[in-house]
Structure formats: C-alpha cells, structure tokens
Symmetry: C2
Subunit: 337 residues, 2 copies
Amino acid sequence: LQPKWSVTLNDIAREAGVNVSTVSRALNMRNGVRKEVRDKVQAVAKRLGYRPNLIARGLVTGRSHSLGLLISDIRNPFFAELVRGAEDAAHASGYHVLLCNSDMDPAKQMEYFWSLINNHVGGILISSIAIFERHEVDQIVGAGVPVVLLNRPKKPGPFSTVLSDNPKGGAIAAEHLAQLGHRNVAVLAGPRRHGNLNDRVNGFLRAFQSKQDGRNALVVPGVNTFAGGYEMTRKLIARKAEFTAIFAASDIIAFGAIRALNEAGLRIPDNISLVGFDDVEMAAIVHPPLTTIQQPKYEIGAAAMEILLKQADKKDVPAEHRIFDVKLIERESCRKL
Amino acid sequence: LQPKWSVTLNDIAREAGVNVSTVSRALNMRNGVRKEVRDKVQAVAKRLGYRPNLIARGLVTGRSHSLGLLISDIRNPFFAELVRGAEDAAHASGYHVLLCNSDMDPAKQMEYFWSLINNHVGGILISSIAIFERHEVDQIVGAGVPVVLLNRPKKPGPFSTVLSDNPKGGAIAAEHLAQLGHRNVAVLAGPRRHGNLNDRVNGFLRAFQSKQDGRNALVVPGVNTFAGGYEMTRKLIARKAEFTAIFAASDIIAFGAIRALNEAGLRIPDNISLVGFDDVEMAAIVHPPLTTIQQPKYEIGAAAMEILLKQADKKDVPAEHRIFDVKLIERESCRKL
DNA sequence: CTGAAAGCGCTAACAG
DNA sequence: CTGTTAGCGCTTTCAG
C-alpha cells in the first residue's frame, strides 16, 4: 500500500506545495500559519497517514518521551502495584516507561542505569537496591538526569525520595504483637542492605525492645522473595528456635513463611502468629488472611512519577521528598497468647 | 564538573585531533582504523566520559533499541511473570522494553499502539485484548512493525503468535472434575471476547459435555481480575444456582471466587470444588492450595520476545508460531463427590 | 505569514 | 587508513 516505510514532513511539504518548516508549524498548531494553509497541510498529513517521528523530534528538542523504571523484580506484587501507579502517571503526561529488572544486583543495576542514560530517558525512578556506593552516587549525579529514589530515607542530596513511613510501620507491628502477649518473636528481615526493609525491622526492634521485660527478637536475614521467606522460616524451624510469632518485613516474605509453616505442620495463628508488611492484594486471601501493615503502593508509584515528571528534561528543579502514612490491617493471622 | 550536558563524538574528535567519522569507526571497533589512533580515540573517549547517544544512532541507522510490551495490567501476576520473561530476553539482546497497560480497553490499546509506533519501537508484543476489528488489523499491518500476539490462536496472517494449549487445558480441567463425579459445574469465563480465556472455556465445555449423561455447565461472564472473580461468584450464589464445582478460566478469577465463597460460608472443597488456570505462584499458598492448569508463563514471554527480536528492525521475516503444553497440578481444592 | 538554512549526534558512502 | 560530505526527520533561528 505504502511504497515508503513511513511518511515524513518532507513528503507532506512536497504534496502540499509548501516548505517543511511550514508543515512543522502547521502540524504543531503553532500560531504564525494562515488558517487556510494550515488546514490544507493537516488534510494532506491525514490523507498520507502521517506519524510524527518522536525520536527525531527528541533529538533536536533535547527532550525525551520516556522515563526509566529501575526495580528489582516485577514479579513481586509490591512492585507491580508501584509500577502501575508510575506508568499511569507517566502515560497521563504522554511519557513512556522503560521497565528494568535488576534483581537487586548492583552491577546489573548500574548497567541498566547507563543503558537508560544512553537511550536518553528524561529521568529515572529507582527502587532496586538500598545503598549506593559513593562512586555510584557520583556517577549518577554526573549523568545529570533527574532521579527519584523509592528505597531510602530522605537525605540531603540531589535525589528526590518518596517512601512510606517504614519505621512507624515496624513499630506498629511490634506494638500489636506485644499487646497480644508475644515475647519471643522471629523477624524475617530480608537483605541486610535493603533500605526500606531495614527501616522496618529497626522500627520493630526499637519499639519491641523498648519495654525491658524480657522480650526477645531473633532476626534472620534472607532474600526478599517468596522463596526467601520460605527459606528463612525453614532455617528457623530447623534450628529449633523458640518463638511464638513472626514479623515478616514484607508480605511476600510472609507468604513464603506460610508455606514453610504449613509444611512443618505449624498452624497459624494457633501455633505461630504472623504479621506482614505491604498489604498486597493477596494478603487478604491467603490462609489465614494475613494481618499486615498497609502502605499505599499505587500512590507511591504515582507520586514518585509525578515528581520525576516535574524534573524530567528540565534542569535545576529542586529535589522533593514525600512520606506516606502506614496503618495496621488486622486479619486472622495473629492470636492472643 | 562538566560544562556541557554530555560529550559528543565531535568533542572527542576535536580533543584527539581527528575527524568525527574516524572516532565513530574507532569506537565501534570497525576495522579500517590504525590501532594507534584507535587506542588514542578510545582513551580520550574514556577520559571525557563519553556516552553514545543511541537515539541519534537509531535515527540514522533506522534501527531502534526498544520493543513495546502491550498488556492489560501488570498487576495481574500472570502478566508479571510473562513480562519478566520478555524483558530478560530483550535485555539479553541489548533491547529495552516499553511497558503499556491497556486495561483491555480497545481504544486505549490502539492509542498505545500508535504512540509506540511514533516512538519507533522495533516491534510490539501484544497481549491485551482478544480480537481486533478488521480496520485495526489493517492499521497494525500498515504500520509495518513486527507484532507477536499472545492472545489468539494461530491464524494465517502477518502476526506471529505464541500461546499455550488453552483448549487442551480446559479439557483437562473438565476431565478432572468429571472424574471426581461433578455434574453441575459453574464456569467463570471472563470477558466474552478474550481469546485465551474463551478457548479455555470452550475446551472445557466440549470435553465436559461430550459424554451425554446429564452434565450441566453454567457459564458466567465477567472481568478477568480478582474483583471480577469475586463478582461472578457472588452473582452465582445470589441466584441460588446449583453447582458442586467451579472452573475458573484464570487463577486470578479463582482467587476472587475463593474470597466470595468464604464470605458466603461455603467451604472449599467440602461444599464446592474449584479449579483454576495459569498456576501463578500464589496458587500454591492460598487456602486451600488451588488445583489448577499450569502453563509456562515466563517461557511464553521469553519465546515471544525471541521471535520479536528476530523480526525487529528487519523486514519480511516470516511469522512464527509456537504452542506450549499445559498440565494439571493437583492440589487441595477439589474433592470426590 | 512563509521559505531557506542550520543543526541535534551520529553513521555511511565516497574520495583521497 | 582517514577526511569530507551528505543526510536520518525534525525544529528553530533568521531573512524576506
């Protein structure tokens, strides 16, 4: 049907008997074009099925139409929710998102970062690992692209941050378990260097041990996945640790714990109480329905993207910081001792 | 630190005292450059912190470095798994993926499609809706970009397809339920025009009703989400339909059904047996663990992407078709009548 | 209001 | 082997 792969401004210009620049102006609705020729140009464009090449446009304007989304694994439902919020916000502003899964691997993360830079994204949303090395921070800053971090507390510096009140969430979980009479609790902490998760367990520990009446928290590190939660719990059981409750630093870890507990013949909450963190959709339908700390995942993703959009393709927009509140969702995975 | 935003081939050329084209050749490791100057150029590039502008390169080579991923909702764990497979495959070939959530909305889908075209992606993987209108097919073909479909059976035509054997999966589910003695089963079918889901229920219906001994299947349409499964099941209960088992066309629908059943005081599998489709990770840990049809989601995504990569930025590569096998995973959500 | 020309950063002929 | 030139498709001066 079409001889050429795609039709360009030049094709329209020739067909309409005007100059390319006029076509450009006409199509971009700039004023400074007689209505008469503008209509004609637009008619020709339509007839030829013109599609603007945004890549070419971006090259000259210096503005991109895409943002990077650097997370650890989209299969984690927490990230799926977050990414959806971010994508919706980006789409509303006419931007695309490039999805990158780093698996918490610092090398892979930096590789993706530079690759995004090479593709001239307007900004990058990062939620893939907790802590950057100093030289990594320097590199990122040097790249000159706006960055929003979703995994570390606000810090003076060039990066915007948005996150939920993780320490408070941990504290709420501790209060809850303490109130139910639990004195020995295992905390499934996740990776040692994971900012959000660490904040949660630190918040938990501080609150739980504040009252010095023989409370005991046993923290076990691991991977922030279903398999990770499963493994941590199995280890716990194998080593015959004494505990009546578990605080999992994320729901996905809690789900793994449920599986391990079930396999070991331990019943929730009869033998072991369990509280998670995130309140992903599935938390309500696992068995038993999981008591957990809720944080607004979609909103966090959307808010982060909105900040990024403000900064994208601009310079010297100041960093911005937002913290979202958390709350306890009581379901059926905890019992009074 | 750097006065300019980013360093270009020109900067290197000036600094190294050679021509841009020489720099280009040297950096791209093309032969035809004396080792001596190549080393010098590369040294300068490194010192200046050169980053190739892939956007500009793409403009001249006509090749892109990104592919579109057009799905309905990343929050659906099935898609998350699929997307992860696709992204890994793309990344292995140096491509990025643009994630688009269409929510099964045909208009939104076409909007995304054109937007991807305007951004000159090398190909598009579509799994967001079942059936295209004729004019939509024409548009997509006319856009001249390779497309792999994940949601409709192989058809003679320009589109590659990869999917699992949905009819067989449905049939297996039917056999299983029939063998357990169920005669009245409700099937939670999902959207009427959803290719994969329709194939599953048709496969189910054909197998279930083949033996003419008074078997009865009641199919109820709805949305392919957790909320959708919940709603369909509530409707079923409200209308006091008679059934001893449910076949849900997807796990996510099954999860919604579990919630509705629980709320209604119906126990699984004591009162109602339930079988799903997909075998997402959560299927193993909901209560009770869900009997379901397994399909290789990650592999499907990866295979689709590999086909797309073969076709990306090339023309006249023939369409390719792959079908993946499915199998029954027996867990604890069904009982013998 | 419109055309001509320059150029974004890069590659790809074509000469030398 | 290397420099010169042209041009990808588009926007944006700058003249007219």
